[in-house]
């Protein structure tokens, strides 16, 4: 029974199949974002419940769950973001990230295998704000930056796939990058992720014009050490 438009109902057997098969495929070909997403969904229910409950404990979080804002090119219009200075969240997101690397909000994979409409929204929201967290932490979308961000996300969300990604991803790095990840970025990620306020409770659509530094202070986000 479909609970939301992109829902694909699956039995336990199918979820196991997707986790094993999808996991193997994602390891073999990490660019298969759909496989990474699938495994994230089959393994993520418990963490999503905790995240949702955390959102329920905050008034902004409750509002997000009620209104279910979706980030699209309409709600985050590029022309509006382009006009913002890079010292704002929206400007940093657009100039430092979206425009530079050619991402659009719609390029995130839809949620399929979560058997609850609200939890499916929480998963979607997590995927969609990922790019904003790049701007918040200052991490670039390189392999190293993504892995450091995954570790940060694990501290923030508890989603198993973020830990798996952070643990297995380093095989893709050079020796020096791996050493730097372990010595500098993982400790930063754990510290910053646990120190920061719950970032899922931020109504990003309403704070795009805020000064990035001020936002970081308010949300207690320590930016990552600069990558060369």
């Amino acid at each position: 029974m479909k609970l939301y438009p992109t829902h694909i109902p699956t039995s336990l057997f199918e979820k196991v199949l997707l986790t094993v098969g999808g996991g193997l495929k994602a390891l073999h070909d990490p660019l298969r974002a759909d496989m990474v997403a699938a495994v994230g969904e089959t393994t993520g229910r418990a963490a999503l419940v905790r995240l949702r409950d955390q959102m329920l404990r905050s008034s902004t979080g409750r509002r997000i769950l009620r209104e279910r804002p979706i980030i699209t090119s309409e709600t985050f219009p590029p022309f509006r973001l382009e006009a913002l200075p890079e010292s704002t969240l929206g400007g940093a997101y657009y100039h430092g990230f979206m425009q530079k690397h050619g991402y659009v909000p719609e390029s995130r994979v839809p949620v399929h295998f979560i058997d609850d409409a609200e939890l499916a929204y929480v998963m979607l929201r997590y995927r969609q704000v990922h790019d904003l967290w790049h701007a918040m932490t200052g991490l670039p979308p390189t392999v190293e930056g993504e892995l450091a961000l995954k570790a940060f996300e694990y501290a923030q969300t508890g989603l198993p796939m973020t830990a798996l990604g952070a643990a297995l991803g380093p095989v893709l790095l050079s020796h020096n990058e791996r050493a730097r990840l372990v010595s500098t970025y993982l400790p930063w990620a754990v510290m910053a992720g646990t120190r920061a306020k719950p970032l899922m409770n931020v109504y990003y659509e309403e704070v795009l014009e805020e000064d990035l530094e001020a936002l970081r202070q308010e949300l207690r986000v320590t930016p990552a050490p600069a990558l060369a």
């Binding site: 039995s11 057997f13 199918e14 199949l17 997707l18 098969g21 999808g22 495929k25 496989m35 699938a38």
Partner: protein
Amino acid sequence: MIRPSSLAAAARPLLTSAARATPATTAAAAATAARLSTTRMLRDQHDASGTTHFGFRTVREEDKESLVRGVFSSVADNYDLMNDAMSGGVHRCWKSAFIERLAPAPDTRLLDVAGGTGDIALRFLDYVREQNGGALGAAHVTVFDINPEMLRVGAQRFSKLGLENGGPHVSFVEGNAEELAGIEDNSMDAYTIAFGIRNCTHIDRVIRQAYRVLKPGGRFMVLEFGKVNNPLLSTLYDAYSFRVIPHLGQILANDRDSYQYLVESIRKFPTQQQFVDMMKHEGFQVVGQGYEDLTFGVATIWSGWKL
């Protein structure tokens, strides 16, 4: 699909109008009922409003062709891998059995329809070569397909083996099985269609065109997914079809929808007997029951003769 009650309902007026139901009138009534049920079943494939089935979806008739083309463009590059993954390699046995049943000769002209990547065409030539002491003789196969991507994959494969498109033994032709444009009447010794006919919008037209292009004495052979009649096996088969194959399609080919279409289209295809009736309706004669089940009916070979 035909329900027994509708068959009986069709027969009833014919029976009651007879003074007494003798064996002759009963047989005649049954034959008429069978013809009516075939007609009804042919009509069920498309209803009066001009729609037909695309798997479990209902689509406009004129859209089905391009939808199918889209499916096969999407799967073309991963087609052979997916076939192996889904059937555990058994599809190779089915195709080999198919050619064994055909038993082609060194002078056979074969039209292989929906033959895209060339699995059947290749086996045909291999069989002839084996039986003919290593030479291909005058054997020729025309690989005919609606989808240019599938043909591209096939022609590449053949080229790697030294069999060039347009050469003495193979040619690749793009076109619609419901028309067979460019294929002359009474020109082919054999017609094969393997795992293609269920995707055609008008199966009756495909059979009719096959009849047209075959020489008298020519043989019409279909390899297609059939119905598994054993109840236990069919439960397992359905579970595998709907709970494993679409996910395999997503994992291996990044295309769940095409494989969902595949497993649904198998269910919408006529039964083994219904298809035999459709063949006879177009003029083909059959030997015995006209079909042979492979792997408990997961696949079936139908065979008819133009006499």
